[in-house]
Symmetry: C2
Subunit: 339 residues, 2 copies
């Protein structure tokens, strides 16, 4: 078992810097595209054999140090009573958004064995095959609330802000319900065998520090506190969230993922011994190879050999990314850091 990721997430010295990529399984891979000719995205996510097969692709083809279960932030939402439709080119769409506290009655607690058995089964299958740690993930309360209130991806997040300005208590209740649901979801995934629990706060960068502290931090802190019982390392990632780094740290994850804009050296200074994951701009995977590798080196230099660094992108892999470039990054990171 390759436990380099787990040791890095514990802040321990490792024989080399572990590397994996957000969205490392997906459309940019030829094998995934072939599979998608026969199955829809929800079919893959809900069929454990298929989800496991897709999860394994980057481990087999790229030599990464971790697998991340193939699923979507919205995967557990139908189990909580929210119908989600995946619209090609548009992402998840929620037909009946939650716009006030009266709508909270439509949410029900998540019961993972009843609501997401396919996720747990995929994890059990994967644990028999994998020789690297398996990461399970969920959306953070604020980001999931944004989906629920906006009805899908948003440009200005005006509805979710309107809700929290006008009914902070109702909004807090919504976030609590989501924190409880995601705690149950991640705990069940840990019990099924997931080694690392990651929380994605993709849209949290929309909040000012004041608003994060008041509206997002309490429920997020509760989520991480609940996850302590699993004994699994936790990872918390936000985008456009440089201004929130210290507050996200206060939420209590074991490690923090940073976006491409947040300077890695700056983050490490501010977080002390807390491990940091990141942060190559995914657009660099389209650069000429020498420039790509120089950027990888620059990020490693920012880390200055400190333990507790997990190499990753600052955002998910973009469609159309050349697979050979992704492989070149894995090799470079391993080679430069001692493997």
């Amino acid at each position: 078992m390759n436990d380099v990721l787990l040791r890095a997430l514990a802040g321990e010295p490792t024989p080399y810097t572990p590397v994996w990529f957000m969205r490392q399984a997906g459309r940019y891979q030829a094998e995934y595209r072939r599979l998608r000719e026969r199955y829809t995205l929800p079919e893959i996510v809900r069929e454990p054999e298929l989800a496991a097969r897709v999860t394994l692709l980057p481990v087999q083809n790229l030599g990464v140090d971790a697998a991340i279960l193939f699923a979507d932030l919205t995967t557990p939402l139908p189990g909580m009573g929210v119908a989600v439709e995946l619209v090609e080119g548009k992402g998840p769409v929620i037909g009946q958004p939650i716009r006030s506290r009266d709508d909270l009655g439509r949410l029900r607690p998540l019961e993972p064995e009843r609501d997401v058995p396919f996720v747990l089964e995929a994890i059990r299958l994967l644990k028999k095959e994998l020789d690297v740690p398996l990461i399970a993930f969920a959306g953070a309360p604020f980001t999931l609330a944004s989906y629920l209130v906006e009805g899908g991806a948003s440009r200005r997040y005006l509805e979710v802000k309107r809700f929290l300005y006008h009914d902070p208590e109702g909004f807090a209740r919504l976030l609590e319900r989501l924190a409880e649901g995601m705690a149950a979801y991640l705990k069940a995934q840990a019990a099924a065998g997931a080694d690392v629990l990651m929380v994605f706060d993709s849209w949290v960068g929309q909040l000012t520090r004041r608003d994060y502290r008041r509206h997002a931090l309490p429920a997020t802190r509760r989520l991480f506190a609940e996850l302590e019982a699993t004994g699994r390392p936790t990872l918390y990632f936000g985008t456009g969230a440089m201004h929130l780094l210290e507050l996200m740290h206060q939420a209590g994850p074991r490690a923090l993922g940073i976006d491409a804009a947040t300077p890695l050296a700056w983050a490490r200074e501010r977080l002390g011994a807390t491990p940091v994951q990141g942060n190559l701009d995914p657009a660099y995977l389209f650069a000429p190879k020498p420039r790509l590798l120089a950027e990888v080196d620059a990020i490693l230099e920012e880390n200055m050999g400190r333990p507790g660094h997990v190499f990753n992108l600052g955002h998910g892999i973009l469609p159309g990314t050349p697979e050979a470039q992704v492989r070149a990054v894995v090799e470079r990171v391993h080679e430069r850091t001692g493997a």
Copy 2:
């Protein structure tokens, strides 16, 4: 003449904190919407009487301490040989994007009196009417290059990054041409009577610090150096750009505008005596009035009474913003800071 803005931009003490709003003239105003029933956006921009009338609306209705000429970042581009179409709900679209150095031949130097006489005429008209300073603006080289390369607004900025990774010298030449064009544009506006020159780098937050320093800083610095000759105070604003604040300062503007995510107190600490403009989240204009005013107060408290603060939003006013809320912010800022 109300010169409070000019004194704040000079870092001098002022009788109260000056306030104006990005996109303070526009669709959220009933009078503007009435005008738009009869004229298209390009008609308003290209007709000096109309542009001046729209520019005056917020000064008359809101009591702000500055006017900003009603125009678009792409207004000078046709003069440089780039055809721009304004598409409703989509923004400016450039039919023939610039994708390589070979396309640079299509760009020609801007000659303001020939290419944008309507802008200069609007400024001359406004100077007869206004009793507050008039701000003229232009796009920063990187942001304009993004428009030219992407062909319009973008989500991932992959084409512009591809260009700069693959042909850094060609990209530098593109930015130089744009810096020269915008220097000519802003100088002509200063000569026509504009009191303050503002440079918008709306998309610069997409760049890492390393890439900003290498690809955007040189041309931006040249632009601000050219503007020195006008004697007018200069303002430089970027969005999603907290990580770039110190580098944008190095570009040489007299003052910096910050987005809503960048903590004002943090910015002021890092910038010393350099004046700072910002940074209320425009979504707050949809909050209940007490909450809106509490947020205004919190921003003023972050400034701690230091001279060199211009109150503004962290982004442009959103469509649908209630005008009364905008007025309430002006009153609160003036009242709380001594007027």
